[in-house]
Symmetry: C2
Subunit: 523 residues, 2 copies
Amino acid sequence: MLGPAEAPSSPRGKRSGGRAGNLRRSGGGAIHQAPWTIPENRDRPVEPLDEEAVERIHNGAMRILEEIGILFLNDEALGIFKHAGCDVDMETQRVRLDRAFVMEQVKKAPKTFTITPRNPARTVTVGGDSMLFVNVSSPPNAMDLDRGRRPGDRESFRDFVKLTQYFNCIHLAGGYPVEPIDIHASVRHLDAIHDKLVLTDKVVHAYSLGKERVEDAMEMVRIAGGLTHEEFEATPRMYTNINSSSPLKHDFPMLDGAMRLARRGQPVIVTPFTLSGAMAPVTIAGAVTQQTAEALCVIALLQLMRPGTPVVYGSFTSNVDMKSGAPAFGTPEYMRATQISGQMARYYGLPLRASNACAANAPDGQAVWESVFSLWACVSAKANVVYHAAGWLEGGLTASYEKFVMDCETLRQLIHYMQPVPVTEEDVAVEAIREVGPRGHFFGAAHTQARYETAFYSPFLSDWRNYERWSLDGAVETPQRANKVWKQILAEFEPPPLDPAIAEELAAFVERRKREGGAPTDF
Amino acid sequence: MLGPAEAPSSPRGKRSGGRAGNLRRSGGGAIHQAPWTIPENRDRPVEPLDEEAVERIHNGAMRILEEIGILFLNDEALGIFKHAGCDVDMETQRVRLDRAFVMEQVKKAPKTFTITPRNPARTVTVGGDSMLFVNVSSPPNAMDLDRGRRPGDRESFRDFVKLTQYFNCIHLAGGYPVEPIDIHASVRHLDAIHDKLVLTDKVVHAYSLGKERVEDAMEMVRIAGGLTHEEFEATPRMYTNINSSSPLKHDFPMLDGAMRLARRGQPVIVTPFTLSGAMAPVTIAGAVTQQTAEALCVIALLQLMRPGTPVVYGSFTSNVDMKSGAPAFGTPEYMRATQISGQMARYYGLPLRASNACAANAPDGQAVWESVFSLWACVSAKANVVYHAAGWLEGGLTASYEKFVMDCETLRQLIHYMQPVPVTEEDVAVEAIREVGPRGHFFGAAHTQARYETAFYSPFLSDWRNYERWSLDGAVETPQRANKVWKQILAEFEPPPLDPAIAEELAAFVERRKREGGAPTDF
């Protein structure tokens, strides 16, 4: 503790005027941002399991694949396995895979790969120490402090895409940040992907929800990049994420989409939906075992089809509230499951995807502790792709404008945190300490003056003014401050440059595909 | 992301009635608590520095002690150093210590020790993997949602002491959780320590603020424990925490108190107040170097006086807002400084103290992310003693009732997190997965039924009900829920048992010392 003699009020007492405001302006932007950068997470991961326990989970996953089998509700996938000599029951659609086969296929997957969007400066590396943040994806609802919670629409969709583009701490424009339900489902993907390709220049994603949607997405990414078909296929340009229908089942459209992307060399994240106590065992070890089996069998399929297909081992294992069945996130179980998933991903030499998830209904304290615990899990697991990194609330049912901004504040802090701490002789600063001596202060020291502008992370959303000033200025709490930030960002938003010829080609494609009726909606 | 096909609403849809309420009753208590337990933090620490960089900080600290020296504003301390042959300038009160001497003394400190309060069941181990949480200490103000922010008084002091006793996740009753300024300073320590010894049975602390306060505190702890003087001195029964007056200075009363406790075998936490950019270099490496020098010289003094004195290396290094001079907490710099402090503590074989600190003015999102980042730092640094673990706001200027409850929720989650994850063959659950199969659900499985009651951590403050139910019930956010919790705890509070004869002796001591005038107030 601090004794009264050194009460922390003293340095505050020295402040000459406080901060002008929370919205620091720099170059006309709503906030001052560090440039786009991909953090390198060089810390040792936290590993809850010893080697023997990792082997036990691996062995359990192999036994599931060998003895119990997985349903592949997709005849093409079944045929591919059958052709490779696997144990396939075409009638029950059950596939059993032996461990030697699975491990042989999984070994073909690259440890790291890049994805290059229409702006090559936004190319990302997936795997290794690299850590990528993806916007919130797929909530049916949008929420903000002014308008409350409401079904997503194209306007809110576009707002979140703009926030995704604006924040340099968001690396991938993942799934729809909110479902634009005012666009008819048959053509929704055309407008939505068009908006994403025009309003952002970051990597985009395609939902694996039927042939037309997937093929249209690939074609639009190709057009937006100004690429030939050969160029599109030469290196990853986009990606999809598929979920299992746990327990032990992969549905038709997810497998179909995954195979369509894999055939063209595009990455697939395989994320089983293994909520412990509901669709997976009530033990974390059991849930991660099942997750591993469900992920590896699809990864094996894709490697069998096209060796070297870029894939990611996805972890979404969390627990449910056993009283209600509601999914919980950012829990101690989520943290440990994510870290153990990291151990399994490294065991198989695969990149790891996890999430910044929470169950809270409002951007309040619970939302933040659940989210920061989730991020702690992601960092300590060495997750390479962090889904829902900004904006997710309510177990994924709502995309929150204010939470998006709050999450970006914490993401920026983590990006700064992941920078190495310099420890040269100059940093150790014995000469500066000698110069200041026991009766001086470091504010004015030359050592400080040479470094103070960039020495520390500078938050855009924290209010560090003293209580009196903060109160006089309305005692504005975090979500209300975030509310001001997103409004200013949207008011000032300018889309990234796009060649007019490409914009025209993209629009023409959308128009044509709409005329053709888009995609069937009977899924 | 989750595709619409597996939108996370589905498990929520299955809930049959939600939770009865957030205040789960069990045995009449306000909340259902796990029993008192001391978490063992067995994960590998995060270590930002390599061995060479650790040596560079060590070398810098040694050079500060050898070449620059530290002011000891206490003639007794100066005399002890002089008697040992150290380079002491009695006029300027500057002490220079050579590294061989410092390291020889520091080596005498125990790696771990226990502290036994009046209830031996509340004995704690300091050091090793053990992690202890201490209540907020020393704010001048108290705050709650009903009465707002106001100067601390005896009533709020007692309230926080009751919360400290109530929550099993709080292990030590540290400094005054809020300053009871309605008690005259001359006798405040008598009433305050009396309240603490009566309302709690956990380890208490003495402020090092003058001979009378320290001696009275030791005597009261001895009386409360029913101990002879010999028994009191035989093993640690309480502790103090002293802060340097950085840069490079230790004040009279802090040193006096530390030496008084050390002489009687009681532990001393030495916590330099090295805010980077203000009282310490603007570089984290420099601030931790200075912190190390300032801590080790006092630890050397205490070991010189009484070899084996239990001591703790205290880290309070954080950064200031360079625009205003305000201290910041829970920042990336705080996290790294704490982790590096952990490396230094292990280098010297000393237990580590750090803090759960934040700069926010309200128990909002900022408060929570700063606090959880601080806790992340403490866990990843392997801090043994976490000061201000519950209730701190506003850089330590305010103790918040609601924040106390919110912090206890996160502490309980971390205590659960630190339990080992079981990974037996039964936990891996291949047979349960076989039994449920691809078309079943784990809710009803025997494997689940045998474990569901204790499988997962059950929060007392999170609201996991769905949005509709939460809204219908008033859309109550986290601080408002915490407000209800502390009121119920205080309404139901019962002090721990205390032998009436001891209670009488304690009261008589306080009365006598008050008659004698208590302590001088001219410090």
